[in-house]
Amino acid sequence: MELGLYLHFPFCVSKCPYCDFNSYQLKEDNQISSYISAIYKEITAYSQKLKKSNIRTIYFGGGTPTILSGVQIYSILEFCKDKFTIDKNAEITIEANPGTLDGEKIKLLTESGINRLSLGAQSFNDLLLKKLGRIHNAQDIIDSYYLARENGFNNINIDIMFALPDQTTKDLQTTLEKAISLKPDHLSLYNLTIKPGTEYYKKYKRGKLKLPTEDEEFDMYNRAINFLKENNFEHYEIANFARPYKRSMHNLIYWQNKPYLGIGAGAYSFIKGYRYMNYENPARYIKEIMSGKLPVDNGEKLSLRKRMIETIILGLRTKDGISYKEFNKRFKVDINNTFYRQIKKLVNLGLLEKDDCKIKLTNKGIFLANTVFREFVD
């Protein structure tokens, strides 16, 4: 079995006001070392069962994985190599916050075998960065970027956010131009969503957040797509753009609804049709694993129907869409039969296009993807 491996690090220097990820402000350094011990135990627990699986991608996500020291990251990866079978061409990515990198750390990252870096830049506008609660400014991004290049990273992603409070289409354009001038291999473009439980949500509810209108958001997204395409980026997933051969292999596993193992607090796994999730709270996660149990909070065996639907709504996010052949091979049914009504309706609405071998979102469909997905869910 081929497998993706995700490792979650739920700590940050500070919690950004818009963020609803499973992450916490780091209070004491020893939180990290006990968390790493727990991760080791969890990896060990899976190592026997999954020894035969071929791990094609590894992803250090967070939080801020680079809040760890270079040595810690290096050791974790060595531990993984020891416990799992890792493909020699594996894509190994680490997310990094521009404020948490230095030359020495980056050197250790490359030496450990990490070959892809994802920089959480978010914007190149210092004022907006400040409002977002980021700990870095635009210059820090540029410095981190060149540091990574100089130290041998030849696959770098830059994360950019849009539809920020008080942001204009022009702001976004300037940010994208600056990002492109660095010649990254990959660019992720996310629009800000206001999630319950965040500081932004509270502000929003009090009417203190001036967000762009739907029309402005459309405009930003539309212009960004065109701009990035003009600059030879392939728009291969709703929010992701890549230079040739630089798609994110790890994320493609998700979008193709293929198996992966998630390690760490709040991490999800999808193995043999089971989708399950670890305890989100790091202390709880550590406690469970230390008492010899798997730290699984909840999960479900997905029915065939649900797996089909999830495969469709993930697959349609990508430019490749869903191949009839692949779908048939996996589920032993013809997608054009099982979802005849939905596909017909969406094609008529101009949201979906079909050819001889696949269905995919139209340009209009990309902007209205949720409308399309809602059609497929039960």
């Binding site: 739907e214 029309d215 991490a267 709504i313 997905f373 869910v377 039960d378």
Partner: protein, 603 residues
């Protein structure tokens, strides 16, 4: 406690408590019940007589109740006191008037800091109309803001009430309770009837019980009633055999007979609550009294709206729920109706806005049915050119303009009590609502009373809220129907995506049509989510467009981030959104949320 309760009619006192809302009616009742030992210590709670959840929550009485108290007076005699608790709100004034007709006296409660309010005056007039002895009580004298001297002056200014008759009380602190009981015994006259005359009783309320059927609340005026007797309701000459009679303590307690002057209940196999009208007279079928008791009249609903289930499958449930509610409340009017936009539902009539709100809330809460209610309307009288006269409450049923000779609308006489400093604002409001000024008089130097004639249509929506906001909550309002007057009314239709949504049509004065139509299409634009297509919204009078807006087509509906773990969560979110869309009403291709129908009520 009395062993033989059938004491002489001379020792019976029947009374009500009347008060403006929040002046402490229920608390006074609680104290009387406690003082006379009617409620055992362990069953004490607030608002004892209000047992409906809504009553306790809103702090109001919706249904009339009766309770019998036994009181040992300072004069050494034992008395039966029947307290008949009545709804306090103007919507229920007919029920109140029937309850009062069963009494010989009334406790008039006035808040010591708020003083005389609109309903205080309405209550005094109602009590006088029913020849009741009024016992004035100034309540809440313990409040730091209490000003009993001022209130005494106000009472003297508005009525014949004598200062020495006024009792100062604090129901909260238990002050004045025994004075009140003594006044009931000494000031209120005993009932006038005689046990030797043929049986006559007044129905002052009725309730439905699923085991016992309809239970009527009565005051026996003359004669005696016993189980086994055959009785007749005078308005429809229907006969029934009495199965059970009893009194309220406050729970129902069966007894062997009820005699002249007593208050209690009768169970007699009444099939339908519709057959037992509040205000009707019950007589002995074998020895019928010829004379009916005064006061019976058919109640007419004033406020109408259409009620539809959001989910058409719930129509049957709604039908059953409405029938059940009607069992306990014969003043609800309902008839089946079909709307092109909303499907199957009911046109309903209510005594007033509060009554309407209460019924809608009970349908949603007690019967768990999600409803769409249309904008409340009144009953119009339309005279067609061919001479035909129609009574129409539903704008959708209005004939075309060219067939109409004239339209008349109901007018009410509104009585407002307000601090004099708010006079300007209130006059402006009344003016804006097409009111005509009738009278103004000062109750004291700071408080005055205003009389206006207003179209009912203008006050059913938010007049009360506006009045309260202008006066920082101090002004109060009471109204009564005075008749119909012809007006220049027009029907405004709303078209969504060029399709008429009959349920959104409304009637109003032609001078206001444009502004209101403008506001409604703006509001709809805000509430109706963007659809796949551009959706025009139009307001029209006789197909002439008077306002329009456009809901732009949905442009962006996409979640940027979606990775491994999120997908099941995301799928569930999409499922939930899809279910939400199913709850919307589809008009043509357009999905309209329930809020659209509710939202425009608030304009």
């Amino acid at each position: 406690m009395l062993k033989d309760y059938h004491c002489n009619i001379e020792n019976i006192r029947n009374f009500s408590i009347i008060a403006h809302i929040d002046h402490g009616k229920s608390t006074i009742a609680d104290r009387l019940l406690e003082y006379t030992g009617t409620i055992p210590e362990r069953e004490k709670r607030e608002q004892i007589l209000d047992d409906m959840d809504l009553e306790r929550e809103k702090g109001i009485t919706i249904k009339s109740k009766a309770v019998r108290l036994y009181y040992h007076s300072k004069n050494g005699k034992e008395y039966i006191l029947n307290l008949i608790d009545t709804p306090g709100h103007v919507d229920f004034s007919y029920e109140v008037s029937r309850s009062l007709a069963a009494c010989e006296g009334a406790l008039l409660i006035v808040d010591a800091s708020q003083g005389v309010q609109a309903q205080t005056i309405a209550n005094i007039n109602l009590a006088l109309k029913n020849n009741l002895k009024i016992i004035p009580i100034i309540n809440k004298i313990d409040l730091t803001t209490a000003n009993p001297d001022r209130v005494i002056q106000e009472l003297k200014n508005i009525s014949e009430i004598k200062e020495e008759e006024i009792i100062l009380a604090s129901a909260k602190e238990g002050i004045g309770t025994s004075d009140i009981l003594e006044a009931i015994v000494n000031k209120i006259p005993p009932p006038k009837g005689s046990s030797n005359l043929p049986f006559r009783a007044l129905i002052f309320d009725s309730v439905y019980n699923s085991y016992k059927g309809t239970i009527v609340y009565v005051k026996v005026v003359d004669g005696v009633i016993k189980p086994g007797m055959v009785i007749q309701t005078m308005s429809n000459n229907l006969n029934y055999e009495v199965a059970e009679i009893g009194i309220f303590r406050p729970k129902m307690q069966p007894i062997k007979k009820l005699t002249a002057g007593e208050v209690g209940y009768i169970i007699a196999g009444f099939k339908n609550i519709k057959d037992t009208h509040v205000g009707d007279t019950i007589i002995d079928a074998s020895n019928p009294s010829k004379e009916s008791l005064p006061g019976y009249k058919k109640v007419t609903p004033l406020v109408f709206c259409s009620i539809y289930p959001i989910d058409n499958k719930e129509y049957e449930n709604l039908k059953i729920a409405l029938e059940k509610l009607k069992l306990n409340d014969s003043s609800i009017f309902s008839e089946a109706e079909t709307s092109e936009a909303l499907g199957f539902g009911f046109r309903c009539g209510f005594l007033g806005l509060l009554h309407m709100e209460i019924i809608q809330e009970r349908l949603e809460r007690e019967y768990d049915i999600n409803l769409i209610a249309t904008t409340p309307s009144v009953m119009y009288q339309v005279t067609k050119k061919n001479g035909e006269i129609l009574k129409i409450s539903n704008p959708a049923s209005f004939p075309p303009k060219n067939e109409i000779e004239k339209i008349e609308e109901p007018y009410v006489k509104v009585n407002i009590i307000t601090p004099s400093k708010c006079l300007g604002g209130i006059m402006e409001l009344a003016q804006e609502r097409r009111g005509s000024f009738k009278n103004m008089e000062y109750i004291d130097e700071k408080i005055l009373r205003l009389d206006y004639y207003l179209p009912l249509n203008e006050i059913i929506l938010d007049f009360y809220d506006k009045l309260k906001s202008i006066s920082s909550g101090y002004a109060s309002l009471d109204y009564e129907l005075i008749g119909y007057q012809s007006s220049e009314l027009v029907k405004v239709d709303i078209l969504i995506n060029h399709q008429l949504v009959d349920a959104l049509s409304f009637i109003l004065h032609k001078d206001k049509a444009y502004t209101r139509a403008r506001k409604i299409v703006e509001k709809l634009k805000e509430i109706i989510p963007r659809q796949m297509y551009e959706v025009p919204l139009q307001a029209t009078i006789e197909s002439k467009i008077i306002a329009r807006e456009t809901i732009k087509a949905l442009k962006k509906d996409v979640t940027a981030k979606c990775y491994g773990g999120d997908i099941t969560r995301k799928r569930k979110l999409l499922e939930k959104q899809k279910a939400g869309k199913k709850r919307m009403k589809k008009v043509g291709k357009v999905e309209i949320p329930q809020e659209a129908f509710l939202g425009i009520l608030k304009i």
